[in-house]
Symmetry: C2
Subunit: 209 residues, 2 copies
DNA sequence: TGTACATCAGTGAACGCGCGTTCACTGATGTAC
DNA sequence: TGTACATCAGTGAACGCGCGTTCACTGATGTAC
């Protein structure tokens, strides 16, 4: 269904532009998390790919479209990481594994690779409609992918549990990152790990699985 | 201990400048929450007070000092609101009152008057040292003022409980504000109210009132 | 009571800078013949 | 195999704009005499 029918005339390899597009979205996803959506401009972003700013508009109609694409990318990345953390442990420990991974010092210290919620959700309420739409869909998809590890009466309930858990963990991570004092930051994470892993037990544990 | 000794030569009333200072901090606290710290500039802020931008530097050395002052103001305001919500109800219901107030649609819809955490904590980790210091102190003072309503073995434990509760509620409020869909937003708040008011019971209830 | 002067909160032009966006262009490539 | 041409990802000058900050100034006031 791609436009593969008129592949003719290209400067670089067949899918060079697609690769540039991908690199751009990934770099944006990193930089937005590190500096905030307003904290990094098109020119700086493009120069970090070895390109100049004018070329940006061959890939996106405007900055908001890039923000939307980066938002989808960030949710997708984070969901994959959470699944990876959960898949490493046996049934019954999966929620604890997710909580311990999410609320780890490693996750705190790698903002550019982590969940977007602690870094960017506060700014999302100030974004234009198109961005918020992409964000809301991304968040729902995120909760849906985590739901399989949660306790709950049905799929919808499990998704709500996942959303509640991630909202809470995002709040604690946000505080752990914003605070001045490293010891306080560690304490915030430690207390949150304890609280959330006991409050949300694994689906299988609860079911006796 | 004020500089009241050389009160001479003044255009307006005796404490006119102090009043302007106060108005400026309050307006900044509103606008920062609504638009983000980078979303409102000195010129716009001053013009909202009927003043011009140049006068700003008679009140603050730079924008960061205003951010610090506004941060203290926001924590102070929020703490007072939480105490007011708690004082309205009898012993045993105070944590529930705080949770229900914090996670209300009213609080969600009045960003400019609400707790700064859902609106600004994400940006705080990107602020310069002086701002983060004021923020960290403000947060600790906030937790200390709420601690009297919390369960816990000692004062430190109760402060930690308050911080954990507010981190979690801030995360849920942040999601409720960022999401596109009003029904989803209401659901996020409803589920969070249920979860946090049952997870954190009042000090007096736990102690047997 | 009347005049000269000092005070200082606030004014507004100017600064260098970075932003998002537009657009005429370049030049390496694949294709047609 | 060799030449002319079409393609198009990326270039870079230019746009209008808003930012934080500086600084010489203004003008209403209180004080001194």
């Amino acid at each position: 269904m791609y436009d593969v029918h008129h592949i003719n005339a290209m400067r670089y390899s067949r899918d060079h532009k697609k690769q540039t597009h991908t690199r751009l979205v990934k770099k944006a996803a990193e930089q937005f998390r590190r500096r905030g959506v307003q904290g990094i401009g098109i020119a700086k972003l493009m120069s970090q790919l070895g390109l100049t700013h004018g070329g940006f508009y061959a890939h996106f109609r405007n900055k908001d479209e890039l923000i939307s694409a980066a938002t989808r990318q960030m949710f997708e990345e984070a969901a994959a990481r959470m699944e990876a953390a959960a898949e490493k442990v046996p049934e019954g420990g999966k929620v604890a594994a997710i909580v311990n991974y999410y609320l780890s010092a490693g996750h705190r210290d790698s903002v550019t690779q982590g969940c977007m919620l602690p870094a960017l959700a506060g700014e999302m309420s100030r974004q234009p409609g198109a961005v918020r739409k992409a964000y809301t869909q991304g968040l729902s998809a995120y909760a849906a992918r985590i739901s399989k590890y949660m306790r709950g009466a049905g799929e919808e309930d499990r998704r709500n549990q996942a959303r509640l858990l991630f909202a809470g963990m995002a709040g604690s991570m946000m505080l752990a990152r914003s605070v001045d004092d490293p010891a306080m930051s560690d304490e915030i994470l430690r207390q949150a790990r304890e609280f959330y892993s006991s409050a949300f037990q694994s689906r299988e544990t609860a079911a006796g699985g």
